[in-house]
C-alpha cells in the first residue's frame, strides 16, 4: 500500500502551509494557516483569554455548502482543543485555517463527509505546525470501513466507502487519547471497539496490534503519528540546514 505524502511550507504568502496527499482515497488537500491575525469582523466571537480558531473548507469543483460548514465545525473543535491558545501572542487573536480540496472526487450534497475528514485533519495539523502555532499534542487520523463480510478496510476508495456497512474515522493523539470519532452506518459496539483498536495500531504503530496484517510504509515505526512526526522533522532539518552545515 502506498502511504500518504506531504510537504510543508510551500506557499509564500500564508504564514504556514502544507499539502497532504492520500493516494488510497485520492484526496489531495492544500492547507494554509495565518496566525496570529486580527479578526475584526468576528469581534463578538473573540475570546478574551485564548485564540479563536477559524476553519474554512473550499471544495475543489463546487461552491461550499452545508456539508462544508459541518466539517468546519468538527475541525474547529478538534484543532481548537489542540492549539495552545493561551500562549503569548494568541489571546484575542485568530488562527485562520484554509483548506482547499485540490485533488480527488467531490463530496456531493448529503454524502458522507467522513471519507475526506482524515486528509483534512492531517493537512490542517501540518499547516498549523508549519505556521509555528503552539500545540499541546499532535494527532493522526484514519478512515476505516467495515465491509459486508465484516472485514475492516483501511482508507477505502470513495466507491468502496459507499458500499460499506459502516464507516469510522478516528483521530488518535500522539499520546493515545481518542481525540475524535465519527462513525456512521450500522454496527454494534464490539465492531466499533475492533475498529478503534485497529485505528490505534495504525496511528500508534503496530506494537499493540493483535493481527499481523498491518504493515505500513510510513514513518520509521510504521505509524501514522510517526509519519506526521517525520514530516515535521524533515522540514526542520531542511530549514536549519544552513546552521548544520556551518557547525
Amino acid at each position: 500500500m502506498v502511504g500518504p505524502t506531504t510537504s510543508l511550507s510551500q506557499l509564500n504568502r500564508a504564514d504556514g502551509s502544507a499539502s497532504y496527499k492520500c493516494p488510497a482515497t485520492g484526496y489531495n488537500i492544500l492547507g494554509a494557516v495565518n496566525a496570529p491575525v486580527e479578526l475584526p469582523g468576528r469581534r463578538d466571537a473573540l475570546k478574551p483569554e485564548e485564540a479563536t480558531v477559524e476553519v474554512f473548507v473550499k471544495p475543489g469543483t463546487t461552491t461550499a455548502g452545508v456539508g462544508e460548514r459541518y466539517v468546519e465545525g468538527i475541525l474547529r473543535s478538534v484543532l481548537g482543543k489542540v492549539v495552545l491558545g493561551r500562549e503569548k501572542g494568541f489571546p484575542r487573536r485568530g488562527v485562520v485555517l484554509t483548506l482547499a480540496i485540490v485533488g480527488g472526487e467531490n463530496i456531493e450534497r448529503g454524502d458522507s463527509y467522513l471519507t475526506i475528514l482524515p486528509a483534512l485533519l492531517h493537512a490542517g495539523l501540518l499547516a498549523m505546525m508549519s505556521a509555528s502555532v503552539p500545540l499541546s499534542m499532535t494527532f493522526a487520523a484514519t478512515l476505516l470501513c467495515v465491509t459486508k463480510s465484516g472485514d475492516i478496510v483501511r482508507d477505502p476508495s470513495p466507491t468502496a466507502a459507499k458500499a460499506a456497512v459502516s464507516l469510522h474515522v478516528f483521530a488518535i493523539s500522539s499520546k493515545s487519547h481518542l481525540l475524535l470519532n465519527e462513525s456512521e452506518g450500522r454496527f454494534d459496539f464490539d465492531t466499533w471497539e475492533l475498529a478503534r483498536q485497529h485505528a490505534l495500531s495504525i496511528c500508534q504503530g503496530a506494537s499493540d496490534s493483535s493481527d499481523g496484517d498491518v504493515s505500513m510504509s510510513e514513518g520509521k515505526d510504521g505509524s501514522l503519528n510517526g509519519f506526521i512526526r517525520e514530516a515535521v522533522e524533515d522540514q526542520i532539518y531542511s530549514d536549519y540546514a544552513y546552521k548544520l552545515d556551518s557547525i
Binding site: 506557499l11 504568502r13 502551509s17 491575525v37 474554512f56 473550499k58 469543483t61 482547499a100 485540490v102 467531490n106
Partner: protein, 297 residues
C-alpha cells in the same frame, strides 16, 4: 477589514526612480513576464500555474444538466473564483473583495463572453440535457497580476480538459466513463488571453506582469484581451491616471505579441503532457485530436 501591508514611501520612490532608469526590481524588461511554470495534475483539466510568486490551481469539471429555457441549444460554462486567505492574509474567507469582483469580471469577459469555449458544442439533447463546464480557480499565492495568471491557467485547463463521452440512445443519454471510451476534448474556438499593463510616472513607463509591489506603486492599469489572431476581445481602462491614446495603440500590439508567445508556451506544455499520458497508455486517440487542434492553431 484586513489590508495588504502598504508600500512604504521609500519603497515606492525606489520603484519609480528605478523605472525612470528602465530598471525593474527583479531586473526584467518592461515587456517581460516572470518565469512561468505550468504543471498538470492526474485528472484532465487540473492545472497548476506558477508565475513568479503568484501561484494558482485551476480545476475544470463537467456534469450533465438541463440547459437554460431561453437557450435550449447551449451548454453552460462558468468561471468561479473565490479568494480565500490562503492566497493572501489580507483576504478574508467567505467575503468577496474588490479584486475578486474585478478579476472575475475580466475573466468572464475575456474567456466566456468572447465565446472561447463553444457552448453550442456542449448541447446533448435540445432543451433536455447539456454539459455544464465549470472552471474553479484556487488562488494559493498572490504576488500581483492575478487576472493574467488566472486567464492563462483557465485557457490551459480548457484545452487540457477531456469530458466523458456521451451518446444518445433511444432518448436516453449514456455517459461513458474515462476507462470505457476515450474522453472528448472541448471545442475551443479561439485562444484569447488578457494582458495587464501598469502605468507609472504619468504613463511614461508601462510594464506587463507587475508584482504586488509594482501594482501598489502603480498609478493606473490597462487590460487588453486579445487572441493569437490579433482579434481584440476586451479592453478596459477603468480608473487611475489618464494615459495617452497612442500608448493604448502601441500596447495593443505588445499584448498581441505576448499572447502569441504565451500561447506557444501553453501549446508546448500541453503537447508534452499529452505525449506523457499517451506513453502511459491513458490517452492514445485523444492525442491525435490535440495534434489536430494544434495544427489548426
Amino acid at each position: 477589514m484586513s489590508k495588504e501591508a502598504q508600500l512604504s514611501i521609500a519603497e515606492r520612490d525606489f520603484i519609480l526612480e528605478a523605472l525612470r532608469e528602465d530598471v525593474r526590481l527583479d531586473g526584467r524588461q518592461p515587456d517581460q513576464f516572470r518565469p512561468m511554470d505550468i504543471t498538470f495534475g492526474e485528472e484532465y483539466g487540473h492545472v497548476k500555474l506558477q508565475l513568479g510568486k503568484t501561484s494558482l490551481i485551476v480545476r475544470i469539471s463537467a456534469e450533465v444538466t438541463k440547459p437554460r429555457e431561453e437557450r435550449p441549444f447551449d451548454g453552460l460554462f462558468n468561471i468561479n473564483m473565490e479568494l480565500s486567505s490562503m492566497g493572501s492574509p489580507a483576504w478574508e474567507n467567505g467575503r468577496s473583495n474588490d479584486l475578486e469582483a474585478s478579476a472575475t469580471n475580466t475573466l468572464d469577459r475575456v474567456i466566456r463572453h468572447s465565446n472561447a469555449l463553444d457552448t453550442e458544442s456542449l448541447c446533448i439533447i435540445k432543451g433536455v440535457s447539456c454539459w455544464s463546464i465549470r472552471a474553479d480557480v484556487h488562488v494559493i499565492d498572490y504576488d500581483g497580476n492575478l487576472t493574467d495568471a488566472a486567464c492563462i491557467a483557465i485557457m490551459t485547463g480548457l484545452q487540457h480538459f477531456r469530458r466523458p463521452d456521451a451518446v444518445v440512445k433511444d432518448g436516453r443519454v449514456i455517459v461513458y466513463g474515462v476507462e470505457e471510451r476515450v474522453p472528448v476534448a472541448l471545442n475551443i474556438t479561439h485562444k484569447p488571453l488578457s494582458i495587464t499593463f501598469n502605468t507609472f510616472n504619468d504613463s511614461k513607463h508601462v510594464i506587463v506582469d507587475a508584482t504586488l509591489k509594482e501594482e501598489q506603486a502603480s498609478e493606473g492599469d490597462l487590460v487588453i484581451g486579445i487572441n493569437s489572431a490579433g482579434e481584440l476581445c476586451y479592453m478596459s481602462k477603468i480608473e487611475g491616471s489618464p494615459i495617452n491614446p497612442m500608448v493604448i495603440v502601441n500596447k495593443t500590439s505588445v499584448a498581441w505579441d505576448k499572447v502569441k508567445e504565451l500561447n506557444l508556451i501553453i501549446d508546448k506544455v500541453l503537447r508534452t503532457d499529452l505525449a506523457k499520458r499517451a506513453k502511459v497508455g491513458m490517452a492514445d486517440e485523444s492525442r491525435a485530436e490535440n495534434d489536430r487542434l494544434v495544427a489548426t492553431e
